[in-house]
Symmetry: C2
Subunit: 229 residues, 2 copies
DNA sequence: ACAAAAGTGTTCGGCCTACACCCATGC
DNA sequence: GCATGGGTGTAGGCCGAACACTTTTGT
């Protein structure tokens, strides 16, 4: 077999919400050159018997202990000079995980969560990659239903709205938000209410499983929302 | 260096319009196993000193002799079994070329243009890839200005509308189309008119260079519209 | 004059926005 | 009862769809 011109790696930008209202993502500290000691996106070389999406889900599992609620391919980065030594082409995925799960995620000397808009200088072109992932997340939030992936089984409309507000960084009218979400059929009302609040108890909803979170076209089950089954 | 688990290749789905109203794309005949004799997307291994987008533009040039008016990364395909022998991960681009250029494109025993919705059975998963590229093209046509990439320097609104109608496969109201296009600022009226028609001569327009064809977010000039400069 | 495409005007309805208002609960 | 978020009603504006109508050319 011909010797290749570049190494192939898979990395993942993992988003979660902290305090219900700020975007956080986990980074790993590099333990060898290049960029030893600096923070980088979790990832690594593609395994022999795993697809690209499998690889992304695996490193996600290994670094955070979590299973993604949403996983989608972001982009393949392959400029010649993005790694100073051996050339690397990185296929990057982005993922959403639930905050309640992220709370108990493994964190240690070499894995730490950062606020998405207060990142240090990262290894390679990873700052650019995160910026692009953020752009995609915000874009996709406006025309699809991925917000649900940040939430648990049952949630109130206010919680869902807070997700939108946190990602889009602008306040939304609760009344209009309700109608828009109800018009799309992405959620289903349960007959339960959230007690214990200080005011009128809000109704609890669940996601409508019969409708896909995002329309990804004719891609055959690859990096699509269901990659996690 | 560690031996890699997969070969890295770059392929391109190249679209053009034939007779102003049908989508066509060039395929190349495979001259060795696997899939010897079958038609496949143009592409090949990544070169040592070229970026992914460069590679896509190069094979496009080599197989058709053309320069793309628009070039964008489509997706990275990497399931384990997509090639029967050695595993291959393909980073696929899609491109738009002008019909007048495509007319005089090289065509021969091993390069032929096909109607996009009457394709034969292609090598590997290339039928799926073309379907996905078509989906992206049609999607992007609705919310960006890429239609211009199918046209020459000067064009009439009717010609632009025919591009939309061909790709979206539905008729558009000429009156409303005019206003929508004019509202977006993607075109500029010239003071020339197209004479020689059978009726009232339509005004000629040109693309507004000061506005990008598509908003691709914070990607640093990579596979973006300007990759061709 | 007539046909047909180029181009303009007008109406309608849906959807988003803003905001007034009622409802139900904890304190 | 009162504060507060949950939830409903409603009026205005914008935009796209539909379509009538005027303009300008070739024949």
């Amino acid at each position: 077999m011909a010797t290749p011109v570049a190494q192939l790696a898979v990395s993942t930008v993992i988003f979660s919400l902290r305090a219900g209202s700020t975007l956080w993502l986990p980074l790993v500290r590099r333990i060898r050159e290049p960029f030893e000691g600096q923070w980088a996106l979790p990832g690594g070389p593609l395994g022999a018997n795993e697809s690209l999406a499998d690889s992304a889900a695996r490193t996600l599992q290994q670094t955070t202990g979590l299973t993604p609620r949403y996983l989608e391919q972001l982009y393949a980065f392959g400029t010649v000079d993005r790694s100073p030594s051996q050339r690397v082409v990185s296929v990057v995925y982005w993922a959403l995980v639930r905050p309640d799960e992220a709370e108990q995620a493994t964190e240690g000397e070499n894995v730490r969560w950062f606020s998405a808009d207060e990142l240090p200088e990262l290894a390679f072109d990873h700052n650019t990659i995160v910026e692009y992932a953020l752009w995609r997340l915000r874009n996709k939030m406006e025309y699809s239903r991925i917000a649900h992936a940040f939430l648990g089984e049952r949630f109130t409309l206010a919680q869902l709205r807070e997700v939108y507000e946190a990602v889009l960084r602008r306040p939304l009218d609760p009344a209009n938000f309700r109608r828009q979400i109800e018009a799309g059929q992405s959620i289903v009302a349960t007959d339960e209410y959230l007690a214990g609040g200080r005011h009128r108890p809000p109704r609890l909803y669940r996601t409508n499983e019969s409708i896909d979170l995002a329309e990804n076209g004719p891609l055959p089950e690859q990096g699509a929302p269901h990659a996690l089954r």
